[in-house]
Point group: D3
Chain length 117, copies 6
Amino acid sequence: MARTLDDYQEYRERMNRRILGTDHLGIKRMFGLDSAAYRDGALPGRTKELLGLVASAVLRCNDCIDYHVLRAVEAGWSDDEILDALNVALVVGGTIVIPHLRHAVETLDLARAEAKK
Amino acid sequence: MARTLDDYQEYRERMNRRILGTDHLGIKRMFGLDSAAYRDGALPGRTKELLGLVASAVLRCNDCIDYHVLRAVEAGWSDDEILDALNVALVVGGTIVIPHLRHAVETLDLARAEAKK
Amino acid sequence: MARTLDDYQEYRERMNRRILGTDHLGIKRMFGLDSAAYRDGALPGRTKELLGLVASAVLRCNDCIDYHVLRAVEAGWSDDEILDALNVALVVGGTIVIPHLRHAVETLDLARAEAKK
Amino acid sequence: MARTLDDYQEYRERMNRRILGTDHLGIKRMFGLDSAAYRDGALPGRTKELLGLVASAVLRCNDCIDYHVLRAVEAGWSDDEILDALNVALVVGGTIVIPHLRHAVETLDLARAEAKK
Amino acid sequence: MARTLDDYQEYRERMNRRILGTDHLGIKRMFGLDSAAYRDGALPGRTKELLGLVASAVLRCNDCIDYHVLRAVEAGWSDDEILDALNVALVVGGTIVIPHLRHAVETLDLARAEAKK
Amino acid sequence: MARTLDDYQEYRERMNRRILGTDHLGIKRMFGLDSAAYRDGALPGRTKELLGLVASAVLRCNDCIDYHVLRAVEAGWSDDEILDALNVALVVGGTIVIPHLRHAVETLDLARAEAKK
């Protein structure tokens, strides 16, 4: 039963709509701060996508890794550059990061395959 | 009793010598991989210093934060750029990162003060 | 392939029986301490369910979140109150908690739908 | 060399002023969201102080524990109630939390001693 | 839809080949250090498999737990010995480890069932 | 201002007495489970000290590392064996463990120096 990026994105968007549809102002603002953190600032947004990817990898959150891998691809980073960022996460975070490295590379391959279509 | 960067560096170097003076090949190689991860590769080393800083901040390791703040300063990143990287760590890692943000900014100020002398 | 609460509960109970069926006294006692922690004490049990939920959310354990969401619903907490507790987890734990917030809200919706039947 | 609450609070306030004195809007907003999370909402603010304390304890952040212990004392929680909340953190987070339990109880004792003066 | 060890191993090996097929020397060396850490040294390799299992359990990584459970079985550790090691992880890491204890015991049962065939 | 093992042990024992002097049965039982986990069982207690040390190192708790280093020394493990266990923690947990490796080796040296007196 192959993993698809569509399933992930459909679930993610459906539940985000559900959560942002509640009245909780604090939660809404936290989602807003998240988007804002990756916009161009003192550092370019595309550099900050790599920072978000490494943070997600060392904290070992596959959904967050997927999000940032897809954003890093959109931002024009090559496979070699993304791998070089993931290597920092692997060295800092240790071999416990390896299953998440496998997940990240699988997502990267799915994203490149989809782009080719 | 003010914190100084010298105390940190003296302790760090003394204990690293002690550890690398043992016969454990695995530990020595792990130290080697750590240095290698921040050399120029598909990504420039100075970008990877920021990746290491964000990884250290979300994993909430003050000694690691000190190391990467000092390296980021050497690599020529400005205060605004370093803060913008730390903001990604703060948003991804949450307010539990705040005490480490205080530590990072204090180290940054100590490093700038020392550079002025 | 929709997630159901029954699958989770069947697996959880089957494996707990398997584990408690072994001879390991330490493991059995740890399970006992877990149940005891949420009984009425200096704080009412229902308040401690929210404490358990927030602890599970910041430690990012979906199975533990499911357990405490279901218990919080049984204890009579409203959706708004549960969301307000989860917001503390989101702010303290950062956006890395968002996938677990999605999971928690999905479980909450499944629990409410089941209660209506 | 005894630990005092004054040292902690002086350092915390000085560095917060330094950080909020920078121009980074994202960081300022994150500090604002933190304060807002503990105001009365669907749950009373004083209940949320206990949620923040448990989150800080399982994430093992002494500075965050200090902050929430002091706030919980101000909110009128008794030692027994605070201990009962910390017990949830201890059971969920394991014996790795014990050093932080020691820290929390020491802070609690310092706060009560100061209140008596 | 029952979990099988074959699925896990096929995915793991396929993605490891994919990752080791890239040119990133740092990642390759990290995989090498991982294998080396469990070879006979000052401590016998089979003792270090238990160390790896406990580290994986407290860090709550199911894939890593699977790997070390299978290796511990190959190394001749009995169910009682593996459970006694997992109990240390449970006490140190807390009840948040329970879902991973369930996973570990399920993997152990699958490995024993496969060995009988 | 040199770190001494006596300061650590005096603080640890004083606060443990304070905590066990409260009426909280859950907390007392958790302390009891902790001691029990390292007694001879299916695995010998001295092997479980190494498991506790590795768990403490990957979870990056210096106080817990001190406790298990001292116990490992009492149990007769050599420096080489303790380093070999710590290497597993370093590889699994990554370079973020390095500051805790420095702390562990410093404690080991202090314990050996004290034993010589």
